[in-house]
Symmetry: C2
Subunit: 341 residues, 2 copies
DNA sequence: TTGAAAGCGCTAACAA
DNA sequence: TTGTTAGCGCTTTCAA
């Protein structure tokens, strides 16, 4: 019978309640509650006695009861397209850690890359009455935005500087990225620019600014190819092949992800194309392998963990009704120049 | 005042309760509850009337009240070391999706690679009264295991075939991986084996079996280098350099992750070492870029999403008190042979 | 097929 | 500093 708890385990039972602790300690339930939530208001002797009772009974508070009574769930919901291979992972990881430090738990919802199921997801989230919702790289249907807003739950959007945020926003301007990358490439003497991106809204916004800026700088109109998200190395290889077949004179490529860029690098080598001499390649994301590639990959770096930490700060402040210095935080980005351009 | 909800938004309010819906529909609260949870027991006409009232009021159930009364939270907690760069991501992603399909939400806890804070994490998790807990790649302190068990909450461990599972287990044998990889390499004529791994328990278990099997096959004792988790490409480069400096005759390397293996590949190329002629390289994880590398990387493939789906199946079955066919599920692994060996 | 009463475990509000 | 009362929103149980 290896699964029977050994007798050394205290009589911990999931059904131990505040009342049980109270009667063991010889105080009222309210006093136990105060020891847990505001020990300063209770005499040291009582606190000690109650703490002992808690330990001996193995009491663990019931968050559902707490949430029901106090209307505070200490739960934050995060919505992102998918967990798998996501550029948002560092953000979500940092968010989880920063929230845990503040006594909040994270609930994860994957919206997928389509709007299907989003409605159900939103209902599920609202039904938990989280103290806040962090949206990451998610574009909502109007209906979804409306329901989220109507719920009255504080919302922080991240990874995007939209013109009309729902409430608080922590991100950067994808337009600025597109513009600066095209300036950077043209500044390096490139004239036939191209972009390979995912078919998501953020990538499209970078493209629009990229193309517009290139034209303003007097070089020929760039060309673009879009692949279905999430973007992979294989996409990069295939798309470079197709792109060069049609536009052999392209001399610079902006890839929507470092994975795509790695694919481009590999395909270029396979075709005997010299990077950066014949072709400049710049990625997006600065994954941990990018600096180590040969040639080392020039890329756009976003401080994902910082976004997560700021989002945690903002959403907790909003949840507690504290004032926020700014409603829109631009974390910016950096073009990390390496060997591939 | 752009933040004031537009008047077209229905009077959705987070404070709409079952009672409100009931009075709008002209029925009792209990009837509304039944329409939501067991519509078959209610007449079609009443169902329609209640559904209308729900829509017009914008009612969203309160999970905390539901959980408190019914002792069912429809919440599953997942514990993993870290979200960032984790080999478990596909598993967690699939788990989240599979649970959502069954009406369950996922709560994420990061235990870190140390035991610090694990105790607090466990308390936080138990206090939510999740219907189940999925443990992924986490080795617990005895105290932690005891408290988890004492909580009475169903537990599924994943990614590991430990000799004494807490309850249900979905994983594979790290010993078998180590053994098979050494057999594979020796079968290819290699004799001076080496391993580069993370300093986690699973990696160490693979190493022990790898070394033992190699000796049994009559080749010299393999050498190993361990780096702090999570493993990166940079670790791979550095460690290969150090390893070859000391053991220049090594002719095969088993890396604990494909990221490490990529680093080894890059460093080998930088040093003018021919892979696979002079050095065979095998990774672990089969990341999406591994097949595209040059040379394409031989690696050990684990079906991460399958583990997540099976874990979802098991934990939900346990939560509902349904019988389970097996308590230990071995998903196995595959050595995917490519160009690097 | 529907309703009424009770209470899940906790804390806000008030009282002592 | 501590206790009492009431009730958060829902579902279990019993009754009709």
């Amino acid at each position: 019978m290896p699964r029977t708890p050994s007798p050394s385990i205290p009589a911990q039972n999931i059904r131990v309640t505040l009342k049980d602790v109270a009667s063991v300690a010889g105080v009222s339930a309210m006093t136990v509650s105060r020891v847990l939530n505001a020990p300063d208001t209770i005499s040291a002797a009582t606190v000690a006695r109650v703490r002992e009772a808690i330990a001996s009974t193995g009491y663990v508070p019931n968050s559902a009861a707490k949430a029901l009574r106090s209307s505070k769930s200490r739960l934050i919901a995060a919505v992102l397209p998918t967990l798998t291979g996501s550029v948002f992972l560092d953000t979500i990881g940092a968010l989880t850690a920063a929230l845990a430090r503040r006594g909040y738990q994270l609930m994860v919802g994957q919206s997928g890359y389509s709007a299907i199921g989003e409605d159900q997801l939103i209902t599920d989230i609202i039904s938990r009455r989280p103290d806040g919702i962090v949206l990451t790289g998610v574009v909502h249907t109007d209906e979804g935005r409306r329901r989220l807003l109507a719920s009255g739950i504080p919302i922080v959007e991240t990874w995007d500087l939209t013109p009309e945020p729902l409430d608080v926003l922590v991100g950067f301007s994808h337009e600025a990225v597109g513009r600066e990358v095209s300036r950077f490439l043209v500044g390096k003497g490139r004239r036939r620019l191209a972009l390979i991106g995912g078919d998501d809204v953020r990538s499209k916004r970078r493209w629009t600014a990229f193309a517009k800026s290139a034209r303003a700088l007097g070089v020929p109109a760039p060309v673009a190819r879009f692949v279905s998200a999430p973007t992979t190395l294989a996409h990069g290889r295939e798309t470079l092949r197709a792109l060069l077949a049609e536009h052999p004179d392209v001399d610079a490529i902006f890839c929507s992800s470092d994975a795509l860029a790695l694919g481009v690098l590999i395909e270029a080598r396979a075709q005997g194309i010299d990077v950066p001499k014949q072709l400049a390649v710049i990625g997006f994301g600065d994954l941990n392998f990018s600096a180590q590639l040969d040639p080392a990959l020039t890329t756009v770096r976003i401080d994902g963990p910082r976004i997560g930490e700021l989002a945690a700060h903002c959403i907790v402040a909003r949840a507690l009704g504290e004032p926020l210095d700014e409603r829109i935080i631009d974390v910016g980005f950096t073009i990390v120049e390496r060997e591939s351009t």
